[in-house]
Symmetry: C2
Subunit: 314 residues, 2 copies
């Protein structure tokens, strides 16, 4: 496929860098300040090196990337809430042009799902968004293949930063603030970790799952969200005495979305370690499926985008 990549952060860069190996051609890459365009296929390595040197991928107008001759637009700009712009507008333009849109950006799928599907219905292009939930984990494709109507509920550990923090607190008996600082030093947590530790990121992913199950209707404001910053250190000790531990669990069903700290069995399926994610899919006739893997990271999340491209190219 001919691919345009919007966003040159960790995921966008990895998609561009891996596209060739997966049989695709990159005809445009854009960041917020510039773009590189070539209908004959851009030299991805050179473009990413330019980004490292100059801060942008190229001299062209980023708006021109939207008009390039691509089969699929990869939307990998940062997630924004509310109107989910500019990501939503990018996807809208691709669909208007009857091209596919593959999102790594959670905003449009969590905040404006119904509008997204309406645009898709009027387009020859399709919308896919495997990369928005669980990084490398094939959660969306599995729910689609098993029919969303057959899935009463999905739950899981969907934020690596929060999970790393809880894992370290339990293993080392350290307090929240101490572990969070350590996670920031390691690059696992952002300088401003609110989005992750207060549950917003996990909630967005659960809203996306709820939209998939229910065929739309949910946005972040429908989610009941509690983060991990209020967990006292001794709560983990008390849990451990009882063979249990605490995880930030997100739950999605047709009835709504809830995210919060929950007690889970210490060696149980949901107690994944460190930055791992897990998605538990309940099915009416096939029992419970557990899908775990790397929930974040540029190349890992890029493989989910590339899986979407593969499905679109069939």
């Amino acid at each position: 496929m001919r691919v345009a990549v919007l966003g040159a952060g960790a995921v966008g860069r990895s998609v561009a860098a891996l596209a060739g190996e997966f049989g695709h051609e990159v005809v445009a890459v854009a960041d917020s300040s510039g773009a590189a365009l070539d209908d004959g296929g851009i030299d991805v390595e050179a473009v990413l090196a330019a980004k490292d040197e100059t801060g942008t991928v190229g001299d062209a107008d980023p708006a021109d990337a939207l008009e390039a001759d691509y089969d699929a637009l990869v939307e990998a700009t940062p997630t924004t809430l509310g109107d989910a712009q500019p990501g939503f507008g990018h996807v809208e333009r691709a669909l208007e042009r009857d091209r596919h849109a593959v999102l790594a950006n959670k905003g449009p799928v969590a905040e404006r799902y119904d509008e997204l599907r309406a645009l898709e219905a009027d387009s020859a292009g399709e919308v896919r968004f495997e990369a928005t939930v669980g990084g490398a984990i094939p959660a969306i494709a599995t729910i689609e293949d098993r029919e969303p109507e057959q899935v009463p509920a999905v739950r899981g550990v969907l934020n690596g930063t929060a999970n790393f923090t809880l894992t370290r607190m339990a293993a080392e008996g350290l307090g929240y603030d101490h572990v969070l600082a350590e996670a920031q030093d390691l690059g696992v947590a952002e300088a401003d970790p609110t989005f992750d530790v207060e549950g917003t990121d996990a909630a967005l992913k659960c809203v996306i799952l709820a939209n998939l199950l229910a065929g739309g209707g949910f946005s972040l404001e429908d989610a009941e969200v509690e983060g991990i910053s209020g967990i006292p250190g001794n709560a983990l000790e008390l849990a451990a005495e009882d063979g249990r531990t605490i995880r930030l669990i997100g739950e999605a069903s047709r009835d709504g979305v809830r995210v919060g700290p929950r007690l889970v069995p210490e060696n149980g399926t949901l107690a994944v370690s460190g930055t791992m994610n897990i998605v538990q899919i309940e099915t009416r006739h096939g029992g419970r499926m557990n899908l775990s893997g790397r929930g974040a990271g540029g190349p890992e999340t890029a493989t989910a985008v590339l899986a979407d491209l593969r499905r679109l190219s069939r």
Copy 2:
């Protein structure tokens, strides 16, 4: 889709019974001695009740089911080795007629993969076989979506009977013969459990995975197979003293197929309990994915067949 179901064992029955709920129409069901046919859609409940009463699904010639007006043939007759007949012939006929073939029968995919793909290449129909590996677990679809060339190796626990036996031996400190007799009483193990406990079933699944990764070339005779019947009871005790346990692990890569008892961490990902299965997929850029779920059972395995039908109908 219009579906013909060959084989009225646990899986075939469940596919027929669930097809309507998943939006399909069953136009034929056949077992080894009879068939029920109706181009307008058969009354599945009545046909399965007839099977319970009379031993067969209907009075028609089973061969006529192959010639029915279906979009997809579901091959759910018992797995046979070597020439994999009669399953292979059924799939061959569907493809000759430019219809899809969805297999729950492992024989043709493990023993005659290259021929199967050659027939598919000459047909407008496609071959799918999610149900042959890991019951409800989406192993095949995930490897396909992530590109087989991107997967260096797959390993896992792929036989519920063997896993149930090992789990009980470890938990209760009982010997192999005792636990196997118990498993037979519970219906978890067959009267002749050789196929399961000697590793043949797990090996067939790994051969299928190796064929998917390598694009063919493998059959059961290429597999190195060791079962669990030779494991002394105290081996599990010794393993437990070291925080480990024993699982029958199958491994598939382009280099070959191996199945045998292996030491694994007691609370580790591969140490699934009872009849659960797990498939671990190594990927070049996305890390390791773990997919676990119910590895057997009529409705569970039927959901994998129905997922294949869903993919074919897109």
